[in-house]
Every structure is written in C-alpha cells, then in structure tokens.
Point group: C2
Chain length 499, copies 2
Amino acid sequence: MPKTIEITELILRDAPQSLMATRMAMEDMIPACSDLDQAGYWALECWGGATFDSCIRFLNEDPWERLRTFRKLLPNTRLMMLLRGQNLVGYRHYEDSVVERFVEKTAECGMDVFRVFDALNDIRNVRSSIAAVRKAGKHAQGAICYTVSPLHTPAGFVEVAKKLLDLGCDSICIKDMAALLKPQPAFEIVKGIKETCGQDVPVHVHVHATTGVTMVSLMKAIEAGADCVDTSISSLSLGPGHNPTESLVEMLEGTGFETRVDRRKLLKVKKYFNTIRPRYREFLSNITGVETEIFESQIPGGMLSNMESQLKQQGAANRIEEVLAEVPRVRKDAGYPPLVTPSSQICGTQAVFNVIMGRYKVLTGEFADLMLGYYGETIGPRNPEVAGMAAKQTGKAPITGRPADLLKPEWQDLRTAAMALKGCNGSDEDVLTYAMFPQVATKFFATREEGPRNLGKDPKAPAAAAAPAADSGKGPAKAPITYDVKMNGHTHRVTVSPA
Amino acid sequence: MPKTIEITELILRDAPQSLMATRMAMEDMIPACSDLDQAGYWALECWGGATFDSCIRFLNEDPWERLRTFRKLLPNTRLMMLLRGQNLVGYRHYEDSVVERFVEKTAECGMDVFRVFDALNDIRNVRSSIAAVRKAGKHAQGAICYTVSPLHTPAGFVEVAKKLLDLGCDSICIKDMAALLKPQPAFEIVKGIKETCGQDVPVHVHVHATTGVTMVSLMKAIEAGADCVDTSISSLSLGPGHNPTESLVEMLEGTGFETRVDRRKLLKVKKYFNTIRPRYREFLSNITGVETEIFESQIPGGMLSNMESQLKQQGAANRIEEVLAEVPRVRKDAGYPPLVTPSSQICGTQAVFNVIMGRYKVLTGEFADLMLGYYGETIGPRNPEVAGMAAKQTGKAPITGRPADLLKPEWQDLRTAAMALKGCNGSDEDVLTYAMFPQVATKFFATREEGPRNLGKDPKAPAAAAAPAADSGKGPAKAPITYDVKMNGHTHRVTVSPA
C-alpha cells in the first residue's frame, strides 16, 4: 500500500504573494474555489502573510471579509494561515492580549490551521500565539525557518522542532522561504524530527522554487517520512513561487507514495489561473527562471522583487548585484538570522542603505532594534561594534529577555484610537486591523465603502500588454485606471488617478 | 569519497532548439565558448538535431563551418552531436555509404561523441551509423528513446540497451525528449542497465523539463548509478528546454555525489545568455511553466511550438487542445512509436490533419510510410485498417525488412546533382548538405557568400519588445528587417523583406 502524501495548496496566498506582489483580488480567486475545495487537499493556505497588509493597502478589501468568504466557499477543506508569531500579520511585536484576541477572531471567522513562525526561530516569540491557537481549539502548526549559516545544522533544527512540540504544536513545518533547502538536509531534518520526536509527529514541508533544486528536496523529504508538502497549481508556480502541484502528483507515480488529489480539478484550476495571471503582468516578478545565486545572498523570493523596487525608487536599479553581495555581510553582523519577514526586509533594507550611503553610515530603526535584541535572540552573536552604533543612534539599551515582555497592555488604547476613526465599524476585527497597520487602516476605513479594487481588472490591458517586457520597470500604473466596482450588488465604473 | 557525476551541457544545441526554434546564430554562441570550454563538462552538445537544417534554412550558415569553429573554440572539451541513425540529420533514410561518409566527415571536422538514436528504437536503423562511428575511432553513444505506452517497460528498455552495446556502443543514453521520464522508471531503467549490462557501462540521461518532474528523475537516475546527465545553463532552461545546470550542481551537495564544474564559469555563461535570450523573443516558446498534460499527449518540447505554428498557419490556433487529444490515438494506430523527430512530426502533423480534415481523410506521405514499415518496426502492431488506407493511397506494399536495404547506392547521384548547383564548392560536405535537404541546400549554396544571418540581431528590437506578449503569434517578422552582415571582414547593412 503506497503511503498517502498530503498537499497544502498555496495558490490562494503564498503563490500570488511571491509571484505578483500579493496583488491578486479576492474577486479573481472566487471562481476557483469550488474546484479547489473538491480537489482533495489537506489544506488551502489562503490568509495571513502579506495578504492582510495588501488587502487594506492596495485592494481596498476587508481582510476579515475575505476570510469569511473563503470559509463560505471552501466548506470541505481546512483553511490555513501564516502567522508571524508575536508579530501576527504586522511588523512589530504585539502585547499578549492582542495576540490572543487576533487568534480568537481569526478562528471565529473560520481558520482551521495556524502556521506559526518567528523569523529568528526564537521560541519565546511564538509561545503566546501557539497557546492562543490551542485555546481556540484549532490546529497549531509550529514552523521552523530554514536557513543556511555556519551555525545552522540539521540537529539544531530538530531541537527547534522539539521545543515547538513542547509548546503543544499539532504538527511541525519546515519553512524554506528562500528555496535554500537542498535534498540532503531536507532528508536529514525530516528524518531527525521523526526519529527524535516520534514517527507520528506530522511533518509538513514548505519550499519555494527559486533555486530549481527544491522539487528534489520534496522527494527526499517524503522519502524521509514527511507527511504533507506545500505546492501551487502550475499556472502560478516556479520562479520565486513554488513547485507545481501537478508535477508533485505525477512525480510520485510508482515510488511507494501517492497523493489523493483529483487531477481533473487541478487542471481546471490551472486553466483558470492561466487566464488570470496575465492581467497582473505589471506586478509579476521579473524572475521566471532559476537563481542559484540565492545560495549566496539568501534573499527569499518574496523579498527580491521588493528590493528591486526599493533600488528603482532610489534610481539605483543597476546596483542589485552589490546589494545581493552586501546582504550576507549584514546578516552575519546580525547574528545569522534566517531571512524571512520581517528579518529579510530589515537586513535587505540595511543592505540597500549600506550600498547607497556607505556601510552602516545610517542604520534603519528596525535594524538597530534587531542589533539590540528587540526582535529576539539570534543563533549567533551580533557584531558588538554595529550593536554599539545602534545603541548610540537610538539611545536604547540592548535587551536579552522576551521582547513582548516589555509591552504594556495595549488593547484598550488600540480600541479607543480605532473607534475615533472615520469608517471604523467598532468591531474587534477593525481594532485588530488598526493595530496591525494604524496609518493604512485609517485610510482604508475611510474608503472601505467604495468596495474592493481589482488591480488586475484593467480595461486598458491591451495597451499595457504593449509595454516594454521583462526588463522594464514594474509597479502600479501611473495613468488613471478605470475599475468596475461592485457595491451592494450594483456595479459602478470608477476612474482612479494616483494622487 | 563522493562519486563524480559528469555533465553534458546543452546550451549550444538542444536548449536553443527547444526554446527558440533553433534560431540562435553562431555569432551569439561564440562569446560563451571560452567559459564553456573551461567549465569542466564531460561534453558540449553543439551540433546535429535540427541545427543542420536551421543553419541552411534560416541562418545562411554553413553547418560544417559552424562545427569547425566550435572545434577551434572548444579545444578542451568533447564535442557531442545528436544523430538520427539512418536519417542522419535529415528526414529520410540514407543509403549506408552516405551514412558512412557523413560520419567520417563529421569526425574529420572535430566531432568526438556521436549520440545515435532511432525514433522507433529499431536497432537496425542505428547499426550502420554506429559502425561508422567506430570505424572513425570516435565515441559511439547509443540512445534509447524513452516513451510511455501499454507496451513499454523498464525491462524492454534494458533490452534495447543490451542490443546497442552488442553493436559496440561506448555508452548508453536514456533520451527523454518529452519530459515523460518519471523518477521511479528513471531509477529502474538505469539500475536495470547497470545490473544487466555491467556496472562499468557508462549511462547518460537526457531529459527535458516540460513536466516539472525530471530534475527528480535525474536525482533518482544518479542514485541508481547514472554517470552523466544532460542539463542547460539556467538562462536557457526550463519550459520545453532542460533542467538548469547550476541547480543540478547545487542539488547534489552532501548527497554522496558531486560534479566537477566551475560554478563561476557557469555564472558567467548564465549572465551572458541572459543578455542574448531576449533578442530572440520572437522565436521563444510560449511555454514557460510546466505542462503535465504532456503525460497524456506525449508531444515533446521541440515539437509543441512547431505544432502551434502549423495550426496558426491554418487559422486554427484555437484547436490545439483537440490536436493534443488526437495525438495519442494516432500514435496507438501507428503501433506506439516514441514521439521524437521524425515520428513526432509525422504523428503530430497527421493529428493536425485529422482534426482539421476529419480522421484519416487525408494521410500525409510520411504517415503512410510509417504505417507501411518504411521507417522501421514499431513496438506494437499497427492498425491494419489505417495501414490498408496507406497502401491504397500510396500504391506501396508494406515492408518488414530494414528500410535502408531497399536503397540503392546514391552517393554518385547526389554528388552529380550537388555539383551542378550554383555556389556548390565541390566538397563532400556540400554533397552531404545537399543530400540532407536538396531544395534548401540549393538556395543556401546560392546565398552562402552573403554570410550568416543573425535573426536575433534586430535593430528594431525595441519596437519588437512592444509587441503583444506571451499569448500573441510568434514566428518570423513580417516587416522588412535590416541585418548587419559580415563578409570577408567587412560589415554590410542589408535589408530583407519577406517574398
């Protein structure tokens, strides 16, 4: 009897995040939901990560509404979200009661599986959220950020897995956001977890495709005992995205492993997203092939396009190679953090600053905090010279305790501030939205009534198609754009010009 | 001690053939030669396949001159060519003395390794060419066309390998032109060959990337004992092309296998072809992701774009799905040939005819010949009804012997005919060029003096970049094009309009 390998499908969250800067509108996902729900996945990842931010920043979509809609349209499949531990879906640490409220509300809206990670693999930063998930009676999946450094070893990752299980996690995920996980370590880590923590501990493996090696890593992880792997339907796969679901299914034929997904459903979903993808061409990643240089720079897929766009804004698009070379130095100075949100942005932006302004001439506030322990502990020691500059520049002292312990109860203040905003509906969800992104939420509450904005639904698409190809600048359209906006069942044609 | 896995690099032949319709000009390959030569490959595949045809049909390049140039620029690495057995690099069977002369001249021009295959795996069709390679003192590699059908089994492929070794082959290649080779059969076939034919028989594996599973197949083939694998530098890889060389190198880290190529040289070559690729955008394959539907249709990468263009010429581009569904039926009727040049074209074109004109309303001459045994034996019986139609339409009787045995000595006639042509230089090479493609050669001899035509060197490139993207029609430009043509050291600007 072949062992059944389960699949978590990424096409509703991480695939559009990695390939089209998280710009896909809910409207464009809805038509695929029925087939996805019936395809036989272990879970559909559909929320969290950067989607919360993107919903209110770019799409004028209420993220909570998006989640409720998914729950309605996907009644037969587990919904999964990616939660950044004490950061939730924001970019700072939140006080424990906010963490608990966020998880509780998310569970209420229909979330089944919370994949929880901390960018530094600092276990203290995931403790509260995992406890909250357990309290809500949902599946807590502890994720280990995979990275490569002189200090990271398979045995070390197994240690992290043990600690996550001690916190009560229902399963473990090896999360390889930069496609750095090669076949041999994939095999060794999965085997190590199974041998050390028990063969019955469910192990999931999440890899990106950027380096072209991780399909093989999935195979070796499966051979080592992995139970579930993350893939994405082929029409939104590869490059900085993920390995194609259909290929994973075919690959296993005859190997003693098999999946239980319905190939015909996958094909329908593939064809559907083939029609959607070109509409977001302005946001598509420049990278379509493989990039093995990432084994040096370690920049994750989702970060590369952001970094390119930062450089372009500075008129320094041609200095990407220098920045890629600077990132590993910055990372070493910071004690070898894995590079994943937010540490990828923090180290990436500091590397951009170092290249443009001279090394550590200017520290970003976030990088200073990272150097002073305000994001948690790193595996390696931090460069004391740079830490000294951070302390001097910010006037802050370095810390060694759990960062969230420094925070005072903040829920009431957040509620009061949110309630004062025009358009805030007074719900806990709105308070949480405000808590995540105070400035963006303020704008969003004021415009929410206008309804979702679909950046892919551009009536000027044929003209856009004639724009210069792959090597040209990406980014939001400069010219006025006309949208069809549905509001209370009526469709309004709205023309939007950038301010 | 890790076992060293050797690599055959495909970027000079099969990669441009699969990804840009064999249109890359020699001029654009020359700058990469020095790095390729020093990178540490087992071989550089650089000639044969469709390059001979393309050189004289589209590029006004003398293919023999191309080969001599490669030899000069690549003094340290084996040169490999792909030879279609009794078809050589043409599309019909040649009489044995032509086969021998072709191999002899090719060896003289500097070829080291002849990868010889027959589209039907009919061993009688490779006997003469393998004997000729041995006579010339060169490396004869017998290639088995991998395919999937109710009749094909790993044991059957091992049998073919045995027969190839009995002919005196120095090595065996498993040739998977359509990316159908899944990991498990890859493992079983390589293991079978090693166990049955000897562990010291060098086994090479050639796979395309189209289905997204074959990087894993390479890993499993290596685990089973494969000695050398075929890959292509990442900037010309994936889609209907091949797995990226750099990824293969990285993938093996820590597995007990390693390569001996120089990563820095690979990176230089990658960057170079990144600059060349966009210049051929008109010829680039529409397919950039993966296509697992090929497990049904079995159309190899190189064939897909041709078939799309055939349909477009008939104004039936929208019927590609019907054709893809028809190909397996045509193939079954033909006794399950592998689909590779020329059987892929023959079955593919017949499928196009069947869809457009009704099933078997019109048989192409080639398909009739295939049904009557004029290409050799197929693994399965051919549909007698369709074979009857073929006999009736052509007035030919079915045959069971070696097709080339029907041919009379033809060298003198070919020589006489070639010599009569304007521009023929009287060399054996020119006679062979004429023998391969009489009509195209006639035109080529007349225009050869004008020197190579570089279809990627288009001064109107910025305008071309503004053409509609991925889903638009591909093909040669319709408007007049200006070329810089080098002739006897002088550069002439020439404007060419299609007739």
